[in-house]
């Protein structure tokens, strides 16, 4: 099973290494979101600094929507998904392999977004451990949720418009908890940062559990 997961993950990362869609298209889009937010807040530095935690997660969430769509688009073309299943790969291995690859890509997006925040909004990190832990849990949760919804909408004619509608509200718990944890890590709030990170972990575990149960039904019918 783990070998199959690693196979799919490596395949997706190889496709990404060759096409560079995350680096050339998704990362610039996410950075553009940060810049556009600066316009929306009238380039007010104190306001942007206070909302930096939320901006990070909103930007990464949009990146995850694009990444999830891309992840399953490459399988929908030419019936690749059927070919993978006919090749003897289990639905769970396909889903988790893709989720793992998407998590790696989202981690790259998160790093660029965080660098963008530091450069554009002059934010300072006060608790690195909290920041990194929350970022790891949050991006992994986005990746799993994104893959579940990507699998759910793969092959549908209205997938382009339906995926954001389905994914963004459902990812709200990650957005909320991640923002709170980041506010503490960036020193803009005196809240319980680790409690929010624990909530992120709970949401992540829930997504993992649903993913295990749902991989078969989703990919058998895709």
């Amino acid at each position: 099973m783990w070998r199959e997961i690693w196979l799919i993950c490596r395949k997706d990362l190889t496709v990404e290494r060759r096409a560079r869609v995350t680096l050339i298209q998704i990362v610039p889009t996410v950075l553009l979101i940060l810049v556009v937010f600066a316009f929306a807040f009238d380039a007010n530095p104190s306001l942007l600094g206070a909302g930096a935690g939320g901006l990070f997660w909103v930007a990464v969430l949009f990146g995850a929507v694009l990444g999830a769509k891309r992840s399953f688009d490459i399988e929908a073309e030419g019936g690749n998904l059927d070919a993978l299943r006919l090749g003897g790969l289990s639905p769970a291995a396909i889903l988790w392999g893709k989720a793992m690859a998407l998590a790696v890509q989202m981690a790259a997006v998160a790093v660029f977004t965080a660098a963008g925040l530091v450069v554009l909004f002059s934010v300072a990190v006060t608790d690195w451990l909290l920041l990194v832990t929350a970022a790891v849990f949050g991006t992994a949760a986005f990746a799993i949720c994104g893959c579940l919804y990507g699998a759910m909408t793969v092959g549908l004619r209205s997938a382009d418009t339906l995926l954001p509608l389905l994914l963004i509200p459902v990812a709200a718990p990650v957005l909320l908890a991640g923002t709170r944890a980041f506010d503490v890590a960036l020193g803009t709030s005196a809240d319980q940062g680790w409690s929010w990170t624990a909530l992120l972990a709970v949401v992540l575990i829930t997504y993992v559990a649903v993913g295990w149960a749902a991989a078969g039904p989703l990919l058998e019918d895709a």
Binding site: L156, V170, L176, Y207, A213
Partner: protein, 260 residues
């Protein structure tokens, strides 16, 4: 077409209960010392969200049953029974989600009206309000997914997975007033041993009565929606049968056409 003796009786009881609820809420229950008459909106607002929560929990439960009954492997008679049960639970999930969305919408509307009277604005970016809107949009998405044209088994399983993910938002909405500093007041009732009541006397009992009334009405609507969904399925199957029989009655191209 979807009515029966039981649903007609249930509907009549629900209607009578709603009339009594209106009397209790508008005349018997006193005005609040702080909120004045605006508190009366609570008798619609709070039961609506309770019924909506119930609808979403039922959707998740029914969805789990759908996934359970559609596990691959069952064949023959057992497979037919499993398929029939999965269709039943899928209809339950659909009807319950529609009820949840409808009552969440009602909660948002009554909450907005209450906010205008109490806060001076229809909308505040408050944690409870924002998370409730997200819940509403989540299940609108669920209903959109259900309406996409697809083979019924695939659609049922896909929707079931989404319902199980979406239900994670419920505790977030409910506990948002405790987790964040919000304008929204804390939970209206803590029912059970040692629970604190934010309301007492006539207000408390009117609220409980309103909840029972809303539950009755929701049950009545839900049964009818379930039956409508069943009729839609039958209509689809009948239309498909009709098309198939038309196709079968067409002359085959490989048969020689002979003059008689």
């Amino acid at each position: 077409m979807t009515g029966s003796v039981a649903t007609r009786v249930l509907g009549a009881i629900g209607l009578a209960a709603a009339v009594v609820m209106a009397i209790l809420a508008l005349w018997v229950s006193p005005a609040d010392a702080v909120q004045g008459d605006a508190v009366r909106l609570m008798y619609v607002h709070v039961p609506s969200i309770w019924v909506a929560y119930g609808g979403f929990v039922l959707t998740a439960f029914a969805s789990a049953r759908v996934l359970w009954r559609t596990r691959s492997g069952a064949g023959g008679t057992e497979g037919v029974i499993a398929d029939r049960q999965a269709r039943h639970w899928d209809r339950v999930a659909g009807a319950a989600a529609e009820l949840g969305v409808m009552f969440t919408g009602l909660t948002l509307v009554t909450g907005s009206l209450w906010g205008k009277v109490t806060w001076g604005t229809y909308w505040q970016w408050d944690a409870r309000l924002t998370t409730t809107v997200l819940l509403f949009v989540t299940y609108l998405g669920y209903l959109a997914l259900r309406r996409l044209p697809a083979e019924s088994r695939a659609r049922a399983r896909r929707s079931a997975v989404m319902a199980l993910i979406a239900v994670v938002n419920l505790p977030i909405v409910h506990y948002s007033v405790d987790w964040w500093r919000t304008l929204h007041q804390e939970a209206s009732l803590e029912i059970g041993i040692g629970g604190d009541r934010n309301y007492s006397g006539e207000m408390y009992w009117t609220l409980l009565y309103s909840w029972a009334t809303f539950t009755l009405i929701a049950l009545w609507i839900g049964i009818h929606r379930y039956r409508v969904l069943r009729l839609e399925e039958l209509a689809e199957e009948a239309a498909l049968e009709e098309l198939l029989s038309q196709r079968r009655s067409e002359p085959r191209h490989d048969e020689p056409v002979t003059d008689r």
